[in-house]
């Protein structure tokens, strides 16, 4: 049917997309009018970003149609998207640090027009654009000298410099204070009046109710609802975002939590990240969950405890004694382990063997005089771990890059099991792991706890964290906003704390 509704600027219909066997989007519809601010909501992993990446040309859809002003479009890359008037400001900043603000704003046009740079015009245009947004930034300054807030504004200015018809903003206000946010909203209203369609992705529900005309909610890659904003309230939106039943993924366990904390964190504040005044304790045998939205400081907290980031202030206590972890070397010395969320970049040595990966934390135990490795000890240790964790591999000397995601994650865990860690921080234990391996990893976490280890699990997967944790801390903007006991566990409660709202009675 070619009778596209002229009321809509953008019509995405029946969009499906899968990566490998994982289906990310299933028959998703999204319709946006000219001069409309359209909020797109959903939990982490619901498919919002993928949908926007299909719109802008980063990803190609498997099925469905995209109409812009009634004409079908098929952007093959972001340049195509930009030419069509679709501009996206992503959550991750994508500026070139070593160039000036003006150069960044007009980067897409630098190659296209003339041979010589017209610095005067570029700088004047860029300055006019920034000023029109109501912010004060010197456009001749290098981007590396800007604050994160200013960088975000430059990103937005860059998108606007291309005369967008559809502007997508992905969590633009995460770094803004209320004044900046208000300025941004004023700008969005202006753009709206000029007829630009804005798709606004945010976790801050109060923002949505301030600015959006329509709200569309994605859940597990499907549309769970799309309504005018005045027909729905916060509770309605939250219900659309969650409302999934807990599957039988999570093995039950008999909790045998120790009486005194094995590990305590007091008023921990970071030097370079947003983590501020974080305090909590874990008992031996307890699985403590840390939840929160992306960017709420969970990973940064784990890295701070582990000594990978620099602390500004705060104390750590292991079994009641104060310890200092100024570097990961110290943390490992106290038998604290960190399984990073990003196993390929930070956790594993991909070209090296399983054996070389696991032993790297454990040389103290397997090496004798002059640092010579006792091969027998090493082989026994590795063989035990491979069997215990059920790592599926032809041999201990196979390169880790040949393993599946689940088995790679097990190797990353095995590194810390081989040194009998007392406290283990596990960041996103099952990201990119298939269901079978997931259950095995949950069993492993249970077993660690059973052996008296203090386990701290960070996860964006709400059913997961509720399934395995005994207690959940919810972080917001670098601090712990609230704590949920097992009886209080629900996706709604986690989400409420994560966006800074009190629990409902």
């Amino acid at each position: 049917m070619q009778n596209a509704n002229k009321d809509y600027r953008l019509e995405m219909t029946g969009i499906s997309k899968s990566f490998g066997i994982v289906s990310v989007l299933e028959k998703v519809d999204l319709k946006v009018k000219p001069g409309e601010i359209h909020a797109l909501l959903g939990e982490n992993g619901a498919g919002k970003s993928t949908l926007m990446k299909i719109l802008s040309g980063v990803h190609q859809k498997d099925a469905g149609r995209v109409l812009l002003n009634g004409k079908e479009i098929n952007p093959k890359n972001t340049h195509d998207g930009q030419v069509l008037g679709i501009n996206v400001v992503y959550q991750e900043l994508s500026l070139v640090n070593d160039l000036s603000v003006a150069e960044n704003i007009y980067l897409h046009k630098l190659g296209a027009s003339q041979f010589w740079m017209n610095w005067k015009k570029i700088n004047a245009d860029a300055q006019a654009l920034i000023n029109s947004l109501g912010f004060e930034i010197d456009v001749t300054a290098k981007v590396s000298h800007l604050s994160i807030v200013q960088k975000q504004i430059v990103e937005i200015a860059k998108a606007l410099s291309e005369d967008p018809k559809v502007l997508v903003l992905d969590e633009p206000t995460t770094v803004f204070d209320p004044t900046d946010t208000q300025k941004l909203f004023d700008n969005l209203f202006k753009l709206k009046e000029s007829g630009i369609s804005i798709i606004y992705i945010s976790h801050h529900l109060e923002e949505i109710f301030k600015i959006a005309d329509t709200v569309t909610v994605l859940r597990d890659g499907k549309i769970s609802g799309s309504q005018p904003i005045n027909e729905i309230d916060t509770d309605g939106v939250i219900k659309l975002m969650i409302g999934r039943e807990l599957k039988d993924l999570y093995p039950p366990r008999t909790v045998n939590v120790g009486a005194t904390p094995i590990f305590e964190v007091k008023n921990l504040t970071a030097k370079d990240t947003l983590v501020k005044d974080v305090s909590f304790s874990v008992k031996g045998g307890e699985v403590l969950g840390i939840a929160g939205l992306g960017g709420s400081g969970r990973t940064e907290t784990a890295k701070l405890i582990f000594g990978a980031d620099q602390k500004k202030s705060g104390q750590l206590f292991l079994k009641g004694k104060e310890i200092k972890t100024n570097s990961p070397v110290d943390a490992v010395g106290y038998e604290i382990g960190l399984v990073s969320e990003n196993r390929k970049e930070e956790g594993l040595f991909l070209p090296l063997s399983i054996q070389e990966n696991i032993s790297v934390t454990n040389f103290k135990a397997i090496a004798g005089k002059f640092g010579f490795v006792n091969k027998e000890k090493e082989n026994n240790n590795i063989q035990n771990l491979i069997e215990k964790l059920n790592i599926k591999t032809p041999s201990a000397i196979s390169p880790v890059k040949n393993l599946s995601g689940g088995n790679q994650q097990k190797v990353a865990l095995a590194k810390w099991l081989s040194i009998d860690s007392k406290v283990i921080l596990i960041d996103e234990p099952t990201r990119g792991v298939d269901v079978g391996a997931k259950v095995e990893i949950y069993h492993l976490i249970n077993e660690l706890a059973k052996n008296g280890v203090g386990v701290i699990v960070i996860s964006s997967d709400m059913p997961e964290i509720m399934g395995i944790a005994d207690r959940i801390l919810v972080m917001k903007e670098g601090s712990i906003y609230g704590e949920l006991s097992k009886a209080e566990f629900s996706e709604e409660n986690i989400l409420r704390y994560a966006i800074g709202k009190p629990l409902k009675n």
Partner: protein
């Protein structure tokens, strides 16, 4: 099923995958056979002994280069260090007893390497830049201390370096034995020693090493220091052969050392490489010079051939990585 999930590498048989996997040794053997056919002199003990003597100096610094490259770094200073340390050794051996002169020279080498190590590990300077600077400084110091001309040293008594350097044991030149012992020790270290395992881990993924509780800076510092110490041993060997220390020694040796390591299949990104293959790389480069000399090919075409071999070897490794 375990086997279905992840297949072992190079499980397929056949002669071609085998040759690709052991390409360095394959090229070496091919060159030996080719040389034997093309020249009657090649397989004489005099020629082979000369060949070994010629490659030993570069060979020793190539091992230092290997361990630096394994961490993902590079050491451009080694050629100049050989010159400076050869001059230093010549001056020292005129003053002190031989063992003391050797010890002090190695310590100076370790110290100079430590300068690069400090700049790279603790000042976060790019290895290329830090060692480029040291390369210039060392060459300059070599000329200053030698006053621009070779420093000769005299032979006193029975204990003398040139006796050792120009003699053989069981037909193998002593200095080649020194080189081979260093290769052997490095081989053992890389496989069975924590130090070797850790530098490979650092080169494979520095961030993961840091997050595994490894003192990354300490090890990065040490590899440059060791590379400096090995440059000292190379300098003593070369000075010993010729009875002098010259500031012109070791010209562009760092490039030959890098070439040898790369021909030996090491990755300049770090984490991959072996001592035995570096030995092969050194021998391949030496063989090419040797056979071309026997054929009376002038030195300029020799350089062209050398470059071609490097490209060929690295292209072969591309297959291996696939």
């Amino acid at each position: 099923m375990a086997s279905a999930l992840s297949k072992p590498q190079n499980s397929s048989g056949g002669i071609l995958p085998f040759l690709i996997k052991y390409n360095t040794i394959f090229i070496f053997v091919l060159l030996v056979i080719f040389s034997a056919f093309i020249s009657d002199v090649f397989f004489t003990s005099v020629n082979l002994s000369n060949l070994l003597k010629q490659v030993s100096g570069i060979g020793i610094i190539s091992i230092g280069m290997l361990i630096v490259i394994l961490t993902g770094g590079i050491d451009l200073s080694v050629g100049s260090l050989v010159a400076l340390l050869a001059v230093a050794f010549a001056l020292l051996v005129n003053i002190f007893a031989l063992p003391l002169a050797i010890l002090i020279t190695i310590m100076i080498g370790f110290g100079l390497g430590s300068v690069s190590g400090y700049l790279v590990a603790y000042q976060k300077m790019a290895p290329f830049i830090a060692t480029l600077a040291l390369m210039t400084v060392a060459r300059g110091l070599g000329f200053i201390y030698s006053k621009g001309s070779p420093v000769t040293f005299e032979t006193y008594g029975g204990l003398h370096i040139s006796n050792f350097a120009n003699n053989s044991f069981l037909g193998i030149p002593n200095i080649a034995i020194v080189f081979l012992i260093i290769v052997l020790l490095t081989m053992v270290m890389l496989r069975y020693n924590v130090f070797g395992r850790i530098i490979i881990a650092i080169g494979s993924n520095e961030e993961a090493s840091r997050l595994s509780g490894i003192k990354v800076n300490k090890y990065k510092f040490l590899v440059y220091a060791i590379s400096g110490a090995l440059a000292a041993i190379a300098a003593i060997v070369v000075a010993g052969r010729t009875n002098l220390g010259s500031p012109n020694m070791g010209m562009a040796w760092e490039l030959d050392a890098i070439a040898a390591v790369v021909i030996g299949g090491a990755s300049l990104n770090g984490g991959k490489g072996s001592a035995i293959n570096t030995l092969m790389g050194v021998l391949i480069l030496g063989l090419i010079s040797n056979i071309l000399n026997l054929l009376n090919v002038p030195s300029y075409p020799q350089q062209v051939v050398k470059g071609g071999i490097i490209i060929f070897a690295v292209l072969l490794q591309r297959f291996e990585n696939k």
